[in-house]
Assembly symmetry: C2
Homo-oligomer: 428 residues x 2
């Protein structure tokens, strides 16, 4: 008998039929003799609808009240799920974040988990019940107020419960079959990975892969939780996300247990590029620029400074950042133009970022050369390059990103023999 | 400075616009220098929609989970209302039933309030905040589970809060202007009462009047809470519901402070009549019949036994009960026909009940004669009669109920000079 934590996202419980299907899946797990704890998101677009309502009654909703509002979404889905399980003849009990002992700090809208005290969940499990917990929400002990964890909160709830209950595995269900070597909508010959290291998963998620939230993977890595990313709509094994020193459950094995040089290719169209032209090439100018950008609240990703032209004594500095941060950053920079002494600003929101991620890059030299070669053959121009220990990223024209991903995927021998099945949604 | 508890029903907070209107009303009360505590229902048809969803996932939803589900409705409306008030520059805090200290027994779906400990509400009021509380819901201390109070629960929440906080008045808002001498949709010349005694209000509510729930009026009577039933859409004074020994706030006076003989006429089309024909006229037979009916779960209202025909030794017994209880009662009786020895059953769901209610009936004789006379002149046949200390009810054909109400209303001198304005909804 194992203790299994399962997480179902909003699209998995979008309507009564979906809820019944998920209930059956949970009951099957219980029937197999396991203890089951489920973290569930709000139904379908409930959270967005509630946010819209909030916007209609108040232009800047009070954060405490916004959390009170949003937390009702999971309350609905979890109660319905518990009912559905109950009507299949199994005992099920639903718990709010506060009842589940999900203790957070008091940062409404983006609360951090500070403690998990799942006393009532353990009691319910000991009574033989299936436990359903509201994802995304917690409780602050000092203010006695409801909090929410922010984007990806339900994944984090599931992983945090798995850690606190010492679960054998945390299954994150979505409408995709697992983690792929690339986004199958971009690279049709992408293959499902049977396993991936958590550090590779973190790099993929940070660079555009959308199946798991970084925060949940980080939490799992820190607390030794084994994640199994799999599909709500299929009984097949998905992808195991394995932390340091962890091994797969008995009987399960990754097909690619030998460390791959490149685990996957991530693509990201969500970034923009800003180039600061004609920056005086004297020490401290780059620091000035990024202080200004940071103060605007923008999250800078890649930075490239070109070689200074000796004749002019001026350099250009380019950086990428989320498209949604670009306006604020441009405004902040323009406001300090005379102070910094640069000539002009160029804003480019037609870029695409491609990253290859693989733990093998640590020990194999020349891995990036294959990337550059493949893009060169395809006549795709590289505009920026950045690297980490296990990742190389390049910026290309957004129009070229799909083709770039396909040729790179192929160059690293990642292509499958058949095309992957692609679903409409993203499973969040 | 007074402490005012206000209750807004679902139709008063049906959408963002309504919520903003209610928020403004609350802010106006606060601005006038009063402390304000608001009990709010779920938006519009939310509760019915949640019930329908529940029915889709489970034919017989688990009661604990149904309460968890339904309690999310008020969570949404109260958070939105608090946000709207907040954005008008006033401090507002919303509280769930559990946070508000609404302690109930563990009867899911129809919990009884056992204690109210509004510590957090008092703190918030002392901080100068407007307090918004989820109506309809509570919390059981032993199971630590969420409960709901059942139909009319939000009215009861408001009155219970008013009692626990020693509020000066409990204002129950709806889309009607107050308590009328009759339902204005049935009797166009019905007049708004400026005040009514709580015992008369109880009789009217028990006999078909829909503005206030019996349970809330009972609670108010027992705990000395002054109720003011008024309209969300008008600043006018509504109707004061005055308990024994209570007086109206300074400056307010009922126009009809002299005890009226008849305060109002109530009409009710929700009942059916069952007649048990040919019951052996021996002691104990009526008891047998009503034991069977009670066991079927039916709630018997009026009972009439005709004089036994000496020749046959058989009597007929008629009784009324809610239409929804009739099938179960008929089935139960039919199952015991040979045991009881009656001849047949007649089911009649085309009846209407008319009641006149007035505390003056205690001290004035012959009040009912006016009722019988008026119906006789209108050639409306009376099928059953029952009386209490301050009420006389008659059963007539359902088709005749409207006309019966109009002639009786007129006969007691209750007609106003103009027709009352009638709204579409019922304000629940």
């Amino acid at each position: 008998m194992a203790l299994i934590v399962q997480k179902y996202g909003g699209s998995s419980v979008a309507d009564a039929e979906s809820i019944k299907r998920v209930a059956k899946r949970i009951v099957d797990t219980r029937r197999a003799g396991h203890e089951v704890v489920v973290a569930v998101s709000a139904m379908g677009d409930t959270t967005d609808e509630l946010l819209e309502l909030a916007g209609q009654v108040a232009p800047m909703p009070a954060p405490r009240e916004l959390d009170m509002l949003l937390s009702s979404g999971e309350r609905i889905s979890m109660a319905l799920l518990a009912m559905a399980i109950h009507s299949m003849g199994f005992e099920a009990r639903s718990f709010t974040g506060s009842q589940a002992g999900m203790i957070t700090d008091a940062t409404h809208g983006a609360a951090r988990i500070v403690d998990v005290t799942p006393v009532r969940l353990r009691e319910a499990l000991d009574d033989g019940a299936i436990v359903i917990v509201a994802g995304f929400q917690g409780f602050n002990r000092d203010t006695r107020d409801i909090t929410t964890l922010g984007r990806g909160g339900s994944d984090t709830t599931a992983v945090a419960l798995a850690a606190a209950l010492r679960a054998d595995v945390c299954e994150i269900y979505s409408d995709v079959d697992g983690i792929f070597t690339a986004d199958p909508r971009v690279v049709p010959r992408a293959q499902k990975l049977s396993s991936i290291s958590s550090e590779e998963m973190l790099e993929l998620a940070a660079n555009g892969a959308k199946v798991l939230y970084i925060r949940a993977v980080e939490y799992a890595r820190r607390h030794g939780v084994l994640i199994h990313a799999r599909s709500t709509f299929s009984p097949d094994v998905g992808t195991w996300v394995v932390g340091p020193g962890q091994s797969l459950p008995e009987g399960e094995k990754g097909e690619n247990m030998e460390e791959p040089i490149v685990a996957g290719v991530a693509t990201d169209l969500s970034q923009a590029k800003i180039t600061v032209i004609g920056v005086p090439d004297v020490p401290g100018k780059a620091a000035d620029i990024f202080k200004i950008v940071a103060k605007s609240g923008a999250n800078v990703d890649m930075i490239v400074q070109n070689a200074s032209a000796a004749a002019t004594g001026l350099a250009d500095i380019s950086f990428t950042l989320p498209k949604s941060d670009a306006t604020a950053a441009l405004k902040a920079l323009a406001g300090e133009q005379s102070e910094v002494g640069f000539q002009s600003l160029v804003h480019d929101d037609q870029i695409g970022k491609l990253s290859i991620v693989g733990a093998g890059m640590r020990t194999h030299s020349g891995v990036a050369a294959t990337l550059f070669e493949a893009l060169s053959v395809a006549r795709i121009n590289i505009e920026m390059i950045s690297t980490s220990e296990i990742r190389t990223s390049v910026v290309v024209r957004g129009d070229n990103l799909g083709e770039a991903a396909r040729v790179v995927h192929s160059a690293y021998g990642l292509d499958g023999e058949t095309e992957a099945v692609v679903y409409a949604g993203t499973g969040r």
